[in-house]
Amino acid sequence: MKRAGFTSRWLPIFLLVPQLSIILLFFYWPAAYAMKSSFFLQDPFGFGQTFVGLENYTSLFTSSEYLKVANFTVFFTVVVTFFSLSLALLLAVKADKVLRGAKTYRTLLMWVYAVAPPVAGFMGLILFNQRWGPLMEFFGLFGWEFEMGADYSDTAFAMIVISIWKQVPVNFIFFLSGLQAIPKAVREAALIDNRSASGRFWDVTFPLLAPTGFFLLIINITYALFDTFGVIDTVVRGEPSNNPMTLVYKVYVDGFRGNDLGGSSAQSVILMVLVLALTVFQFRMVERRIHYT
């Protein structure tokens, strides 16, 4: 058997250089710099600094506020991921029945995905406005005095709703194409074996969708952890006060707004470790149990 290969040893290296240099320049270098900064307390202009060892880390883990933000981040991620996936799956299953091949509808449903997170956040601000927001009036009908910006849980609710709304379309498209990729023969065979539609769904369709579902799970967790920044920034308008925020937003609040380079670097390192753990989980634990065809 003939192995395909390069004739020169340098050619593959040469071809890899652009990609590797981008990774080095824009990922490894800043990451290494953040690691270093996390051991210092530094004047942002670069005139003075003190080596503080692990103090930036210990002060985070002993801060009840940081732990509160971390707890909220976990809660936010679980809720946003769960609802964006389950709502999208529900919509996709229903649409699959009526929309076979209707690409136009799919494109239209996809539109929301093109809305940038800050714009989505801004639309949320208008809908949830305390004085004249239509949603606030709607909640008022049920006697719920909705106070986004003044009440912790109301703001959390608004952030979660906006974030889910923004993410459902992309999940929907993936689930729909996943559903349509299930061979007709399998569906027909299942139809003979099991007359209950929900039974067929959980026994046949759902396991066959697992690869798509797992891919989306990872995508959605990263979305909720990191890409919701724009939504949160717009909803709290740069001043979180007693409103909830996620870990990524706190890095911004302390680092960019507050110029605490050491503290926010330590927070970034913690997030890097989190992403690393998520990646390991993705490849070690789950990829082995899911069979891609």
Binding site: D43, G238, E239, S241
Partner: protein
């Protein structure tokens, strides 16, 4: 092809032009968007037209925080602008980094521009100064918290505008019965904490309110006066005498504009925006209230807003241009124009006198409240505060006081938390200087 030729010709012409005049060009990074930004451009154009040796280019860099962060990044790369606008809460960062800026007082005297700090309005003088009283940042867009009131609402309730919080407590029930939220505020830390200390001449931090240096500075917020004030505010909220609509400034101010709130504490600069909105009721402004149980007379407040800093590492010609620009900026005519167009206070007494003699305050009485309040009696604690990581301390103040108002915590607990977290932040900041 034609476009290319044209561009080339235009570039060549522009190059020739600048070579012929040999103008010294300086840049000014600011955070003034919208109408304010246009007024900034007007000042720059005015300066450029007033002489032909120097040319200033203003560049809008986003919010206050974004401007400061951009300036810091540029400074570390050696690409800093000549002038950078830094907001009140960020002043400890930029002033602490000695060597990042040239104190304006030095810059002006080295370049032969007359400077006397007594030309400035008292409440404006020392906020951006060193412990020795030397002015480091040039106060630019300056304002102070004052109280606006809906005169129709007060008349309907049959009450007079209060000058103390005791008087406010006495009239609040009548305003509530007349169907109004008697009072709202717009910025808890600025109006109820920072200027509260100045108005009552109370120390806000150790080390001369932080001016003597970051080392060992501690915040003095956990005091009986603060406890009393916030206990009262919470009582008012529960009684319906006070409204709180979150940290967002406009969420609170809009309650006044909509005619729901009878009075609101806001910025002396708000009157311009209120005038432009043509509100369907009579309104005016008066001084920030004080507690007569704490002080017999109300002291002056200090300025919020931002100052212009001359960045270090620039050539002597460029520094000369910056000094000339500051001289132009602080001239009475330019200050009066800035005051008139934006609502920010004029920083010099000469500009205030000019506005007065021009009849500006006859036309807009609300415009005079800010400057007059900044000229009230001074005390040892009225020049301001200098605390590092104050942006984060403000976040803690906002968070804890909002929790008091929502009932999640008590006044005692909240003030204790602010004190603890604030002191931890101050200690961390002191280490960044080392």
């Amino acid at each position: 092809m034609n476009t290319m030729k044209f561009t080339a010709a235009a570039t060549a012409f522009a190059l020739l032009g600048s070579a012929a005049f040999a103008e010294t060009e300086i840049t000014w990074w600011h955070a003034m968007g919208g109408n304010l930004g246009e007024t900034v451009n007007k000042i720059a154009e005015g300066f450029n037209a007033s002489q032909d040796e120097y040319k200033i280019t203003p560049v809008f860099k986003g919010s206050y925080e974004e401007t400061l962060t951009a300036g810091i990044a540029a400074f570390r790369a050696g690409e800093q602008p000549n002038i950078m606008q830094v907001f009140d809460a960020g002043s400890a960062t930029v002033i602490g980094a000695q060597g990042a800026t040239v104190p304006v007082q030095d810059l002006l005297s080295e370049n032969g521009v007359d400077f006397d700090i007594n030309d400035y309005i008292p409440g404006v003088r020392y906020f951006y100064s060193g412990s020795d009283g030397k002015m480091i940042g040039m106060p630019f867009n300056s304002s102070s918290p004052v109280m606006y009131y809906n005169a129709d609402a007060l008349a309907k309730a049959g009450v007079e505008v209060p000058s103390t919080y005791e008087e406010f407590e006495a009239i609040a029930p009548a305003l509530k019965d007349a169907g109004y939220i008697p009072l709202v505020q717009t910025h808890l830390p600025w109006e109820f904490v920072e200027n509260f200390h100045s108005r009552h001449n109370l120390p806000f931090a150790t080390n001369d309110n932080g001016y003597e240096g970051a080392e060992g500075t501690k915040i003095l917020i956990n005091s009986d006066e603060m406890k009393m004030h916030f206990t009262k505010v919470k009582e008012w909220l529960d009684e319906g005498y006070f409204g709180f609509f979150g940290t967002g400034w406009s969420d609170n101010q809009s309650q006044f504009e909509a005619g729901n709130a009878a009075m609101y504490i806001g910025s002396s600069g708000d009157f311009g925006g209120l005038t432009a909105k043509d509100l369907p009721f009579e309104w005016a402004s008066s001084y920030l209230p004080y507690w007569s149980s704490i002080t017999e007379e109300g002291y002056q407040t200090f300025i919020g807003g931002a100052a212009l800093f001359a960045m270090a590492g620039k050539s002597a010609e460029e520094n000369k241009a910056t000094a000339e620009f500051f001289a132009y900026l602080t001239s009475p005519e330019v200050q009066y124009m800035w005051h008139r167009e934006t609502g920010y206070v004029p920083v010099t007494t000469a500009a205030y006198e000019l506005a007065k003699s021009d009849g500006h305050y006859d036309r807009f009485p609300a415009a005079e409240t800010g400057p007059k309040q900044l000229m009230l009696t001074a005390g040892e604690n009225t020049k301001g505060y200098r605390m590092g990581f104050y942006v984060q301390i403000r976040d803690v103040e906002n968070r804890e006081i909002a929790r008091v108002l929502s009932g999640e915590t008590t006044v005692e607990e909240a003030l204790k938390t602010i004190e603890e977290e604030g002191n931890a932040l101050l200690a961390r900041f002191a280490k960044t200087q080392g």
